[in-house]
Symmetry: C2
Subunit: 337 residues, 2 copies
Amino acid sequence: MTPPPRQRATVHDVVARAGVSRGTVSRFLNGTGYVSADAAARIEAAIEAVGYVRNNAARNLVTQRSMAVGFVVHEPHQLFLGDPNIGSIMLGTNDALADAGYQLVVLVVASDSDAERVSTYLRGGFVDGVVLVSARTHDAVAEAVEKIALPAAVIGQPEGGGSLPHVAIDNHAAAREITERLVATGRRRVGMLASALDRDSGADRLAGFTEALGERFDESLVVTDPLYSYTSGVRGMAELLRRDPSVDGVFAASDAVAAGAIETLRAHGRRIPEDVGIVGFDDSDWAQRCTPKLSTVAQPAHDIGHAAARLVLDQLRSPEAAANVTLPTTVVWRASA
Amino acid sequence: MTPPPRQRATVHDVVARAGVSRGTVSRFLNGTGYVSADAAARIEAAIEAVGYVRNNAARNLVTQRSMAVGFVVHEPHQLFLGDPNIGSIMLGTNDALADAGYQLVVLVVASDSDAERVSTYLRGGFVDGVVLVSARTHDAVAEAVEKIALPAAVIGQPEGGGSLPHVAIDNHAAAREITERLVATGRRRVGMLASALDRDSGADRLAGFTEALGERFDESLVVTDPLYSYTSGVRGMAELLRRDPSVDGVFAASDAVAAGAIETLRAHGRRIPEDVGIVGFDDSDWAQRCTPKLSTVAQPAHDIGHAAARLVLDQLRSPEAAANVTLPTTVVWRASA
DNA sequence: TTGTACGCGTTATCAC
DNA sequence: GTGATAACGCGTACAA
């Protein structure tokens, strides 16, 4: 039982012990071939003896790549903790990267100083590319990434239309589709609990809703809130009922909002879906938990993450490849409408 | 408007442009002083002109530290997506690290090959330390970390009692406390929906429950499930009611489990808290969402993450510092019992 | 105050 | 097959 070496062993130590040159050890390590069976055996023994593990930081310095890709997530506005999709997106990215032998490193931005430090990290040579999640307009990190021309992909197209390639879902079409479906159940007074109109997702969902209703669209039946939250659903629905007690259909901008709205509807004695039909967006845990279960729009979260990773990997291969990606959503019809 | 340089500029380029030596540029960059105003100005201009950004990977090679700390999270068993505390813990860790000027890098382990790759990454010299979240017994990553003697802290003490220092809450005491509180409301037949008995948290919560009940403990009133999930609560409660329809008190191993149990209780016509009092664990979103709101145990998630980071940072300063930390929980009494 | 030379731990390119 | 030797981009004694 030898105690673990306190000081890291380097190739030098292996060289000394095995009695071969640095070049030979390196070739052995990288499986480049051209190393005799005898030398290989001695090297292997030496590595074991001195407890050598390769310093990849040094290796990357000469190979000029890190085999790692960053994944930047912004915490403000409950984006990280609240959004149930973010986890799946991350896993999708991880899957795609792992297949290609890349390491995913997640970076959290929870303050301005974080943004600064993360930008520095991204510039530091620790990652070969980066996936930006839901960058807001004029995002500091996105700007830094653009400046140093780091291969990147942003999830959820930024309004400003920064030059970074993005992968997104068609919020507009999805909202239109589920609204039409809701209308088809015979609802006459259909309202919307809109959220986050300052983000492309929120604005597009409202646009899709508006288009679906066409002539029958009534501006007074749209209640807005900055957040996609349960609480905003509770309050928004109360407001909607106040404006027009006869509403019999509701499109909530997210499942969380829908869940809150259901709570309010129940408190007001409305039966679902008999009196009021309601649909959400995301197909998150919320949708399954609601009573009755929520009809909603399913986002291909895993695929989104996967596509973003592919977008970065493609750029790593050929610097020009950078086509935006739009992924299809599907309406999941359950019992709430 | 000069286009961004395609090839990264190095100190060499700055040197050439500013007409000074490498040493002077380096001193300027690190604010070590000993650089004339004239030289500083020329260097500054040159940096701007060639668009130089320091390569920290190379810098770390010579300084022998990365100023980054890893945060390894295991995805299996819904640990990541499901656990509402994990996000807060992560933010707590991020806060502590940011204060010390360190960068948090989150690493996800979702497969065996991921564990392998992450271990390699950890060994690679990219991080100065690491926080391991809920490492399972015989965790591959934990073993690798121990082997290379990387400063570390694990959250939620591992059963095996690996030599890594840990930060945890006293699940046993917390479970005992809330169970006593539940009993104090006059419940006679108190059952438990236990989960994850293979993890220390799950086993300890059951032990605390058992201790609190003492004489009145009835083994048949304990239903177990491998997961801390909503679904396990739904099923577990049904089973509990089947075993003894007269249960009037329930301690659920987590808020999610409690939420599922409430659903079942409601379906069986039981009123809460009139007919059955129920309490949970975590004080997560679920607790606020339940109707009625859940009485539960609040975990200091942010503090846990913060403490883990401190534990790592302390070891970075003096290699010996490694005292385990146990953080206090608080009972949050609401309307469900 | 400034410049020179060396080293951090690897890989890559050569002659041998 | 193998072993010097030159990078990779940077910090830092040390000498000037």
